[in-house]
């Protein structure tokens, strides 16, 4: 119990497999294939500005929709009976345990021109959709894959909410909308922030979803990194792109954990 030594294997492990690889990303980003210092990889990022903008935009749109639909679902779930709560939680988590590639493949089958979506549309006598291979399909795929990751933290935050606080607000004459805006929403903000982080970061870095649902026409930052490491074998440019992605991620984390602290202080 008092021994420090038993933590040493992990500290050594973290040094070799967490810190050193992170340094290697920076090292490769600032060197050429012969290993001498260069800024040309970082300079090439400029060519990809539009891909970064597109990735951030799609991830943001998907996150927003997840937040909107997820919030309503989480709220409904938090008001269920204990038994219904645990059943719906299991139902929510089951798809999360299915492999990302399989889930995306399943979603692709639905969107295909002769897939279930068009059969349903035909049944309702609506025009056919050719959504596969468009940005809309990719964003829809992002929402499909990451919605449960948004609902879980929201549910946790909303479930903790004391019902008597809501009743107090109602007793004092607040309208339904005001109860939500002044009481429920502020108290659930920690769940909102962690939900955003849980969805935005994987959406930003995906390459499987854009590849499968974008039909090779929707190119995101994850696809650049994948191509650089698995096709072009240009590790240096790949590392430079990854470095920028890490920066975006760190900014996101700092902003949202800062906002989170603010709300907590506001409540206390």
């Amino acid at each position: 119990m008092k021994s420090k030594v038993i933590a040493v294997p992990y500290i050594v492990w973290a040094g070799i497999f967490i810190i050193v690889p992170s340094l290697f990303v920076a090292y490769f980003a600032f060197t050429d294939s012969s290993g001498s210092f260069t800024l040309s990889n970082v300079a090439r990022i400029g060519e990809y500005t539009h891909v970064f903008v597109r990735s951030i935009l799609y991830a943001a749109v998907a996150t927003l929709f997840c937040l909107l639909f997820g919030y309503i679902l989480a709220y409904i779930m938090s008001r269920l009976s204990e038994r219904a709560k645990s059943v719906s939680l299991v139902l929510l988590m089951l798809p999360m345990w299915i492999n990302l590639v399989l889930r995306t493949q399943a979603f692709q089958n639905i969107l295909m021109d002769n897939g279930m979506l068009n059969k349903m549309l035909a049944l309702l006598r609506l025009p056919e959709s050719h959504i596969l291979g468009t940005p809309a399909a990719v964003v829809l795929g992002l929402i499909y894959n990451y919605l449960p990751f948004m609902v879980l933290p929201l549910f946790t935050a909303l479930e903790k909410l004391d019902i008597s606080v809501i009743e107090a607000a109602q007793d004092l004459g607040a309208s339904g909308f005001n109860v939500f805006r002044r009481v429920i929403l502020p108290l659930s903000m920690p769940g909102v922030y962690s939900g955003i982080i849980m969805v935005f970061i994987p959406c930003l870095s995906t390459f499987v979803i854009s590849e499968k649902l974008g039909g090779g026409k929707v190119y995101l930052v994850g696809n650049i990194i994948n191509d650089m490491f698995n096709q072009n074998y240009n590790f240096n440019v790949g590392a430079a792109v990854s470095l920028v992605m890490m920066l975006i991620m760190i900014v996101t984390l700092v902003v949202f954990s800062f906002l989170d602290d603010e709300t907590k202080e506001g409540i206390l």
């Binding site: 040493v8 992990y10 690889p21 990303v25 409904i76 492999n99 002769n114 919605l147």
Partner: protein, 262 residues
């Protein structure tokens, strides 16, 4: 009215989440090779699945990697969580910040940074690199699962056991360890599922010849879409469902026992 509306909303969202997977499962019983036209019931794809040496080999690799990685990471991670308590506060904080890196990093970044390490020290991609990578992303979750449990352990228990004549090691294993078991078990299960589920990190560090289930599914679905993949998906869902129900029942059993104790 309000209740009906929220029921309908829940149903719609769950339909959105489940329709693709359930259709995949449904077509696994298709007698022809189509994901969209059902030609009659057959178990043909389940037979083909068990005769597909590529998939069975990958399944074997997945299980071996997941078991080894979760056992090793549970041992290293639990030891780390216990040992770290005895470090100065700022050192603990620094080490925990490093521990959060693989948790917060997108998988693709974890994957390429480990790949760059292996390339730099010239370890060819394969079983070893995949195992090392899985242990690396598993350990932080183990530490994060065990650490909170330690806070509830009374430090005097260990001293009391020693006062009563137990040597340090058996004092730890008899007095402290049993209280950590639930935390260690959930850490182990977490590591196991993370490993089985991982695609991105494995994809980058695996090299040319070593594959796990997820990378095989990825490369197969790139070429063609055989329905044996659907059959595989159906079987995996069945396992997960059984596991979730088992965990739920186990939890219920525990709370009932607790109530009985009271």
């Amino acid at each position: 009215m309000k209740k009906a509306l929220s029921r309908a909303y829940m149903a719609l969202i769950f339909l959105f989440l489940y329709a693709p997977i359930l259709l995949l499962v449904f077509f696994s019983f298709n007698s022809s090779n189509s994901n969209v036209v059902f030609d009659g019931f057959s178990l043909r794809w389940y037979r083909e699945l068990f005769h597909d040496s590529e998939i069975i080999g990958a399944l074997f690799n997945t299980l071996v990697i997941a078991l080894l990685a979760s056992v090793i990471s549970t041992i290293i991670g639990t030891a780390a969580a216990i040992g770290l308590q005895n470090y100065k506060k700022w050192r603990q904080k620094a080490i925990m910040n490093v521990t959060y890196i693989p948790v917060l990093n997108p998988d693709i970044i974890t994957g390429i940074s480990l790949l760059l390490l292996f390339v730099a020290v010239k370890i060819p991609g394969g079983f070893l690199t995949v195992l090392l990578s899985h242990i690396t992303f598993d350990i932080p979750y183990v530490i994060l699962a065990v650490k909170p449990r330690l806070r509830h352990v009374d430090p005097h228990l260990y001293e009391a056991a020693q006062d009563l004549g137990a040597p340090p090691l058996s004092a730890f294993f008899k007095a402290v360890f049993p209280q950590l078991v639930p935390g260690i078990m959930s850490a182990f299960l977490m590591a196991l599922t993370l490993s089985i589920d991982d695609f991105v990190v494995t994809f980058f560090v695996r090299g040319n010849s070593f594959s796990t289930l997820s990378t095989v599914i990825y490369s197969i679905t790139k070429r063609k879409i055989p329905l044996s993949i659907n059959a595989l998906c159906a079987l995996m869902m069945l396992c997960v469902l059984a596991l979730l129900i088992a965990v739920n029942l186990f939890d219920k059993g525990k709370t009932k026992n607790k109530e009985a104790e009271r």
